[in-house]
């Protein structure tokens, strides 16, 4: 009951956020200097042609009507055609999605699978040699921009050992493991700085939770350190780290835009840059909106997950959204 209420409340917020996000996207591309119709038709178009195209595109309608139309299109997956590719925006985006989403998921898995053991190792004995080593290591990773990391890794992997060919990409439908293989290194480059970030927060949180009273209580109940770590400290640390993880997710999504460029992968990043250089606004606005949509849903999911873990969340605490 409490849970349902909480989710309901979050859904309302999700809805409001989506409304604002969609409006921001729409507004941003509406205030852009330059007339869409004249961009499309080129400089030699006549006034009649221009006004014909405007009414065909609905540009002569009032902004509010256009916004509603656009919103309807955004949620039904019909954002019109790209100027540059003369293809539906949605199909261009869904074509590239496997790369970006695949990379993001792989990166997230790496972040979780690596930062947790690191943080446990480090937080177990703060100030120990292993903790200090991991912490310094984490700081250095933190400071490495993903594209520098990518360049480094590409140089090492492909030039020196010849094991990795940049730009190789296999569709998941044809060879799923090949597809994962192609995305492994780029995902790693995105994940590394985020591992450092998650590690840092998780470690701090583990150290904090370790000093908490319920840990002392469990000790007095006779539990061993290991079971206290896994049964009490980790779930509690996760609750406070989950906001960070959801921010990491959005960073991962943004990071993949750059990294796939370095690795020459056919993902949304390349489409985005192409759309930018061709001033393909339908495509741009579509991409911006859907990427934001994904982020909003991820934040929502993070809220739901923390509500599932943390009963307090369900009745009073603020969510991420």
């Amino acid at each position: 009951m409490e849970q349902a209420k909480y989710i309901g409340k979050r859904l309302v917020e999700l809805f409001l956020t989506l409304l604002v996000v969609s409006f921001l996207t729409f507004a941003a591309f509406s205030i852009i200097p330059g007339d869409t119709a004249s961009v499309m038709l080129g400089p030699n178009a006549t006034a009649e042609q221009l006004s014909a195209l405007r009414s065909q595109l609905g540009l002569d309608l009032p902004m509010s009507v256009r916004y509603l139309e656009w919103l309807k299109g955004a949620f039904t997956g019909d954002l019109g055609n790209s100027y540059a590719y003369s293809q539906p925006v949605i199909s261009l985006i869904t074509d590239r999605l496997p790369v970006t989403i695949g990379m993001s998921i792989l990166s997230l898995l790496m972040v979780l699978l690596i930062s947790y053991p690191m943080a446990i190792l480090s937080g177990r004995r703060p100030g120990s040699l292993s903790d200090n080593t991991l912490s310094v290591f984490g700081h250095v990773l933190f400071a490495l921009p993903p594209f520098v990391l990518s360049m480094l890794i590409i140089t090492l992997a492909s030039a020196a050992f010849g094991i990795y060919s940049v730009g190789r990409y296999v569709k998941p439908s044809s060879d799923f493991f090949g597809y994962l293989g192609c995305l492994l290194l780029p995902s790693f480059c995105i994940a590394l700085p985020k591992i450092a970030m998650t590690f840092k927060f998780l470690r701090a949180s583990i150290i904090e939770e370790k000093a908490s009273d319920y840990v002392r209580t469990s000790k007095s109940h006779g539990l061993s350190d290991v079971s206290i770590m896994f049964r009490h400290i980790l779930p509690n640390s996760t609750v406070s780290t989950i906001t960070v993880i959801s921010l990491v997710l959005s960073d991962i999504l943004g990071g993949s835009l750059i990294v796939e460029q370095v690795f020459n992968l056919p993902g949304l990043g390349r489409l985005l840059l192409a759309a930018i250089s061709r001033r393909d606004f339908p495509l741009l606005s579509g991409m911006v909106f859907y990427l934001a949509l994904i982020t909003v849903l991820l934040y929502f999911a993070a809220d739901i997950v923390s509500a599932l873990i943390d009963p307090r969340m369900r009745n009073n605490r603020e969510g991420t959204l």
């Binding site: 319920y214 002392r216 007095s220 006779g222």
Partner: protein, 519 residues
């Protein structure tokens, strides 16, 4: 027979490369079977560390340098880590100070207790039934509901009961209670102490009771030890410790703990109840709203409160925690908007003094800035000299000196900070002062001087005071009239003498009972 024998126990804490700090210095004592042994001392005296050493829960940086701890005839220091862990729960049960956070907030109460039995491989059904029956033992009427509740859904007193249930679940011989009542209000404190005593007798347990507060020891402990700087400096039965302290430090502790307002000879201003009041509170209600949908939260809500405050009158406001005292105070001084009713300040100003001397002053600003701020806020135009004069006047009026003006709050003691806060309040010459537990965090001597200060202000300036307190003795000496609150309502009001002598409402009775228990 002794359940625990501690001999020549010394313990040090190592930090970095520095010299290890000696925390426990050659302790020698024993705990007799079935007794309740009190261990009293200021914070940092080593009393909690003694408990942790006995339980084997010391931090990694701590090391026992000498001595032995024998529990039930076994020297526990010679046991392996695993064996020592096994002792916990079975031989030694523990409860701690802050029940707010002593349970894992992510698990239900049942789950929190379940682990004690689970690691001892007891089957699931048996686990649940044992926990439920133990919850019943510690006084829960609906143990099933508590079992399913999350820690944040139950009150502080209930949580402490849950912890006691956990500590007693395996019927250990020794129960170590480390400040179990320090964060509870008086009524709850009394009930928890009663529960501990009952369990002690019922389950043939021995209790090592640790507290900084001498008042709880009375009527509870059989023997008391006093600790200072890692040493036990005094040990005797409770009666003697409390009434004939042999040790000078123990005597000092006693005077600090005992606030006896009657001995202060306070004098107050005359009150004319027929005059026009300085504060009229008419049927006010305040509710906290929560979230998007504006649902009301029951807690801390007040309703239908009316009273008048006359010039020069000191009125008490008492009630257990969560009854709405602070909400009322906040509403009167304008921090909360009443959802109904009316408050008439009768063209006078209302000043307020809060409870916590730590957070009552802004740590980033000097005392002079603090005193200047009300003048700025009130828009009083003054020349530099006049301003300085007023500030100086105010600071002198609360017994501080000019040199304190340029100091930051961090460099003042708790009592001094509380005085500075009063000075801030006084500088605008309010007709009414609301004092919300102004000395509950201070030791007895500081509290006494604040009391004196308040009476002086009342006497000399005819300032009316609304005193919120849980200390009935203070209310008895200071207040002409008293309001008793419970669950957001005023349940009783009248002249202090009458109300406290023949209470009518059950809430008043509970408060008076608790006071008697702990005196």
């Amino acid at each position: 027979m002794n359940i625990a024998e501690i001999r020549n126990l010394s313990m040090s804490i190592y930090s970095g490369k520095g010299v290890p700090a000696l925390i426990l210095d050659d302790l020698n004592f024993h705990i007799r079977e079935g007794e309740i042994l009190g261990l009293i001392g200021n914070s940092g005296s080593g009393k909690s560390m003694t408990a942790m050493t006995i339980a084997g829960l010391l931090p990694e940086s701590a090391q026992v340098t000498s001595g032995s701890i024998e529990i039930d005839g076994k020297d526990v220091l010679k046991l392996s880590a695993g064996e020592r862990r096994k002792l916990l729960g079975e031989e030694i049960g523990m409860i701690f100070q802050d029940p707010m956070t002593a349970l894992d907030p992510l698990e239900t109460v049942g789950k929190n207790l379940d682990e004690i039995l689970r690691i001892r491989n007891i089957p699931k059904e048996e686990r649940k039934s044992r926990i439920i029956s133990m919850l019943e033992t510690v006084g829960f009427i609906e143990p099933e509901r508590i079992y399913r509740s999350y820690p944040h859904q139950i009150s502080g007193g209930q949580r402490q009961r849950v912890l006691i249930a956990g500590a007693a679940l395996l019927k250990p011989k020794l129960l170590i209670a480390d400040e179990p009542t320090s964060s509870l209000d008086t009524v709850t404190t009394v009930s928890i102490l009663k529960l501990l005593k009952d369990i002690c007798i019922e389950m043939h347990m021995t209790i090592l009771f640790i507290s900084h507060d001498l008042s709880v020891v009375n009527n509870f402990c059989d023997r008391v030890m006093v600790m200072k700087d890692g040493k036990i400096i005094d040990s005797d039965n409770t009666e003697d410790i409390l009434h004939n302290p042999k040790n000078a430090f123990t005597a000092e502790l006693l005077t600090k703990a005992k606030l006896d307002p009657r001995s202060l000879g306070l004098e107050f201003s005359e009150v004319d109840p027929s005059g026009s009041p300085v504060l009229k509170v008419m049927d006010i209600a305040t509710a906290y709203r929560d979230g998007f949908f504006g649902r009301q939260r029951a807690k801390n809500t007040i309703e239908g409160i009316s009273f008048d405050l006359y010039p020069g009158e000191v009125m008490g406001l008492i009630g257990s925690s969560g009854c709405g005292k602070t909400t009322l105070a906040k509403t009167i001084c304008g921090l909360l908007k009443p959802t109904g009713g009316n408050i008439d300040h009768c063209s006078g100003k209302v000043g307020v003094v809060f409870q916590d001397p730590v957070s009552c002053l802004n740590p980033m600003h000097t005392i002079r800035w603090h005193l200047n701020e009300p003048l700025v806020a009130a828009g009083i135009k003054l020349t530099k000299e006049e301003r300085e004069k007023k500030i100086l006047e105010a600071i002198k009026a609360v017994g501080l000196e000019e040199k304190h003006l340029s100091r930051y709050p961090g460099r003042l003691s708790g009592g001094q900070r509380q005085r500075a806060a009063i000075a801030m309040c006084l500088i605008l010459e309010p007709s009414v002062m609301i004092a919300d537990e102004p000395f509950s965090s201070l030791d007895a001597s500081s509290a006494a001087s604040i009391l004196k200060l308040l009476s002086k202000i009342n006497r000399e300036r005819k300032t009316s005071i609304l005193l919120i307190s849980h200390n009935l003795r203070v209310v008895r000496t200071m207040c002409r009239r008293v309001l008793v609150m419970s669950r957001g309502h005023v349940v009783e009001e009248g002249m202090t003498e009458e109300v406290l002598k023949s209470p009518k409402a059950s809430a008043t009775k509970a408060l008076i009972d608790a006071e008697r228990q702990l005196s």
